[in-house]
Each structure stands twice: as C-alpha cells, then as structure tokens.
C-alpha cells in the first residue's frame, strides 16, 4: 500500500508547526515568570509558574473568571435551548406543512441572511433600551426565542429527509402536528439538533459585539467582554492576559475533542447550499 510521499508529510509537518506555534506561545506565556516574559530573544526553557493564573483568581482581580464564566454559561444555556426550540418548530412548519405563504416567507428568511447585522443594530438597541433591558442579559437571550434563519434553514433541510410514511402513520393514529414535531421528527433529528446546539453554544460563547453594546456592569460581563476590557486596562500584563485567553479558549478546545464530528458536520452543512 502506498503511504504517500515524504514531501507531503514534511510539508504537512512544517505547516502544522506554523499553525500550532501561536498555541505554544499562548501556553508558554501563560506560565512564564514575569521577569522572563520581557526578554529578548524569547526564552523557551524555564520553570513554569502558576503566578498569573493565581492572580486571576484573586478576589480583587479585574478579570473575575468564575463570575464571567457563570454569566457566559447562563447566556449559552439559554441560547442553546431557545434556538433548539424555536428554530426546530419553525423548521417543521417550513419542511412538513403546506400552507399559503409558506414559500414566500421562507425566501424572505433566506433573503435576510444577506442583510448585515449593522443595519438592524441601532433600532434594535433603541427597542431594548425602551424596554429597559440595557445592562441585563435579556437582549442576548430573548432574541433566540424567535428562531435563527441559519439554524431554521439547516433543520429544515434535515427534516425534509424524514420519511413521509412515518408522519402519515402518526397522523392516521390521530396525533396532531405538534405531537408529530415533538415526538416523531425531533427524536429522529438528534444529529442535526446536536450540530445546531453546538453552533448556538459557540455563537453565544464567542459573541462580543452584543455584550459590548448591552452589558455595562462588570458583574454581568461575559468572558469575551471581560477579556476585552481586561486587555484594555492591563495591556502590558502579558502573562495574566495569556492565562485569561487560555482559560477562555480551553473549554472550546475540549468541547472540540468531544464533539469533533458535530464540528465538522456543522461546517460542511454551512456549505451545502454552495
């Protein structure tokens, strides 16, 4: 059996090094003693220290990891549940029901995917401001209850593959459409729902501009906003900054190793239309 040429492997290994190096730099700087961080050329062999991490967990640290993590997880959990419920419900209406105006609304929805968020950002801000939602999590969570065009599209494509006989059999048994959506289609769509859940989670975890617009009080910061503000104030504290970045990145990397298939499937699904 041919194993591939040596050149292929040498190139792949060299490029891997280039792509991995920022990670090495991140982790190395997070555990590098302060006095070595600002040495030129960079020191690569040293006794690692946990001082930066420890400083982050001090009660007076400007980067309150546990608080920010809790806030982020709350928003993420709400986003995942909200998106799964609302998007799957709407997707069922688009995929398995016939009703006047369905296709029109569906194409209008696809059209909105082209509109840059900035165009809607200001009126939505004013709306939430009038509702008294500034400095609460509501602007980050409530919109997920109305479905997300991209997730609706993805789930619709998947729901279309559920055999029609299965739905008809359930209808003959006297089940209503809500029961069919919830008890027949949803259990059969776990793989697609897992992908939507994962991407909702990532979206909420990584979101920066919405927390930046809506959250004011430090006790409500999410990780991304907290890290950005920390960086703004303590520009030169590279050890602590790298430790904080690593803390924010690690859960995602760990998640990736548990849900590699869903990550890859999700990426591929985004390209299906292409």
């Amino acid at each position: 059996m041919k194993r591939g040429s040596l050149l292929t492997h040498v190139m792949a290994a060299a490029l891997s090094l280039v792509f991995l190096f920022p990670f090495v730099w991140l982790l190395a700087s997070a555990v590098k003693p302060n006095e070595l961080l600002k040495q030129w050329p960079p020191v690569w062999v040293f006794t690692p220290t946990l001082e930066h991490l420890r400083e982050l967990f001090q009660p007076d640290s400007p980067f309150q990891f546990w608080q920010f993590l809790l806030n982020t997880l709350y928003v993420c959990a709400f986003t995942v549940c909200g998106n799964l419920l609302s998007s799957s419900m709407v997707a069922y209406g688009f995929a398995r029901l016939r009703w006047p105006g369905r296709d029109l609304l569906f194409y209008a929805m696809l059209g909105t995917m082209m509109v840059p968020a900035q165009t809607m950002m200001i009126p939505i801000f004013l709306l939430f401001r009038n509702l008294g939602w500034i400095d609460t999590f509501l602007p980050l969570t409530i919109p997920t209850l109305f479905g997300n065009a991209f997730f609706i599209f993805m789930l619709r494509q998947f729901f279309l593959t559920v055999p029609k006989d299965l739905l008809d059999a359930a209808r003959v048994d006297g089940h209503g459409e809500v029961a069919i959506w919830w008890r027949v289609v949803m259990p059969l769509s776990i793989p697609a729902l897992a992908v939507v859940g994962l991407f909702s989670f990532l979206g909420a975890w990584n979101d920066f501009i919405n927390p930046l617009i809506y959250l004011l009080d430090e006790t409500r910061y999410t990780l991304s906003l907290g890290l950005a503000m920390f960086q703004g104030q303590y520009e030169a504290q590279y050890g602590r900054l790298m430790a904080a970045s690593a803390l924010m990145t690690c859960p995602i990397v760990i998640l990736f190793f548990f849900a590699q298939r869903q990550f890859i499937e999700g990426i591929k699904m985004t390209g299906i239309k292409g």
């Binding site: 891997s16 009126p123 890290l227 995602i252």
Partner: protein, 307 residues
Amino acid sequence: MTPSRKRDLKLGLFFASPYIVGFLGLTLLPLIASFCFSFADYDIFNPPKWIGLENFTKLGQDRLFWISLWNTAFFTVFAVPLGMTVAFLLALLLNRKMIARPVFRTIFFLPSIVPLVAASVLWVWVFNSQYGYLNWALQPVCNVFNLIPGVHTAAPNWLQSPTWAKPALVIMNVWGVGGTMVLYLAALQDVPQTLYEVADLDGASSWRKVWHVTLPMVSPILFFTLVMGLIGALQVFTQAYIMTKGGQPGVSTLFYCLYLFQNAFEYFRLGYASAMAWILFAIIGVITAIVFKATGRFIYYEGGTGE
C-alpha cells in the same frame, strides 16, 4: 378560502409564529426604522429631526468615512483571496495520500475555533515588535537580506506601524482559515475518482489535473466561500476594536464597522450611523451581485446549470 386551507394556514402560521414575530420585530421594522433614521439627525436624547440627505452629503465630506472605507477595502482585498488560497492549498495537501491525516486536519482546523476575542489578545502579544515571537522568527530572514550590500531590513513594528497594522490583521486572519479548509477538503473528497483516471489516461500532469478537473468540480464551494468571505471581511470589527484600540495607529485600522460603531454608541450620532449602515448594506448587495454575474459561467453545477 376552503375550511381545510384555512386550517392549513392557521397551523402553518402557528409553527412559523416565532420566526414571524422575530422577522417583523427584529428584522423588518428595524430595517425600516434605520432607513428612516438615515435621513434624520438623532442623538437618542432628543427626538429625531428630518434632515433629508444631509447625513449622506456629510459622509461624502467625512475624511474618516473614506479612510474607513479604504481600510476595509484593503483588508477585504487581501484577506479573502489569501485566506481562500491558503485554505485550498492546505486542503489539496491533506487530500494527498498520507498517514495521520486526521491529526493534521485537527491542527489546521483548531485555530478557527479559538474565540475571536481570545485570538485577538493572543496575537497582540505575537505581533509585539519588541518581545513577540514573530519578529524573533523573522530576524534570521532579515539577516539573510542584510547580507546583500546596501540593503538594510528590519522586522516590522506590526501593530504600532501605520503601514503594517492592516497586513498584520490579514496575517492573523489566515490563521483562522481552518473552517474553509474543512469545506474544501470535503468537496475535494467528493470529486469522482474516475475523472482523475481519465485525465491520467490522457497523460495530464498533476497541475493540469488540479486546473482542469479539481477546480471546476469544487467551483460551487469556492464561490460560496468567496461570497461569505467578502461579506464577513467587510464587517471586520472585533480584531480592530481589541488589537488596535479602535483604529490605531492613527486611523490605519479604523475599519468601516468600527467607525459605524463609534458613531452610534460613542458619539450617539444614530442618524449618521444608520446612513453608514445602509451604505454598507448597499455595498454588500452590489458586490454580491457582481460576484454572481462575474463568476456565473465559471461555476460548474453537476446535472446542468442552476437548480
């Protein structure tokens, strides 16, 4: 309308109701509202005042508006093709016969899932001209060039340099092309093997096979990533907000959406910012239309053109 059609409509509207509310409340009405604001002077604290086209004429004379447009164009023109090329070359490499392909694929993919804020904080330190590893790695390259008599090069100051700050952000962007690469790799693996066998019979070289077989077969996905990449790059915001403190040095990384954000939420010029938002919308629409038109005949869809 027959009773059964009425029932269908009710049922359909029920299932679509979350999205209908969202579509009206969070898309359509905000779009109309921001369109109206773009013709108004509005600072949140006083009611909006109709001023006709004044926001647009003022934008035309606003130096920062044109600079932000230029910066964004620069970023887009370099980041998108470079990102696509790197992603495609990586995918071609991974599509060759090799051992440990999943390991390499994971390594190239991983940077793309690093949260953008965390990546930005990390790259500030990578680009640090005094202590960052990038310039440490570039030093030997510069030394080689300096062997030529009369040439004196030094590693750039990156984020501190008006010339190099934008290229720095382009380079950082390349690090995150893993998602695009995964798409390309999937498309490459779908190219029927028989096509290559036929090309082999014709005695085609590897590069001719890439050019005449691979590229046409994956052209739909290239097109898709081009459109999405352009739309994304025109909205570049987070990196500049964090890494260059809102557009520094000078205004060299003041990108369009950054300036829009500053107008809206720092200067409270909501009408002005709305006008910018609609111009962005128009630019994205025009560019997408141009790309559709210009690439249409190069894209190969299996089973005929268009569906």
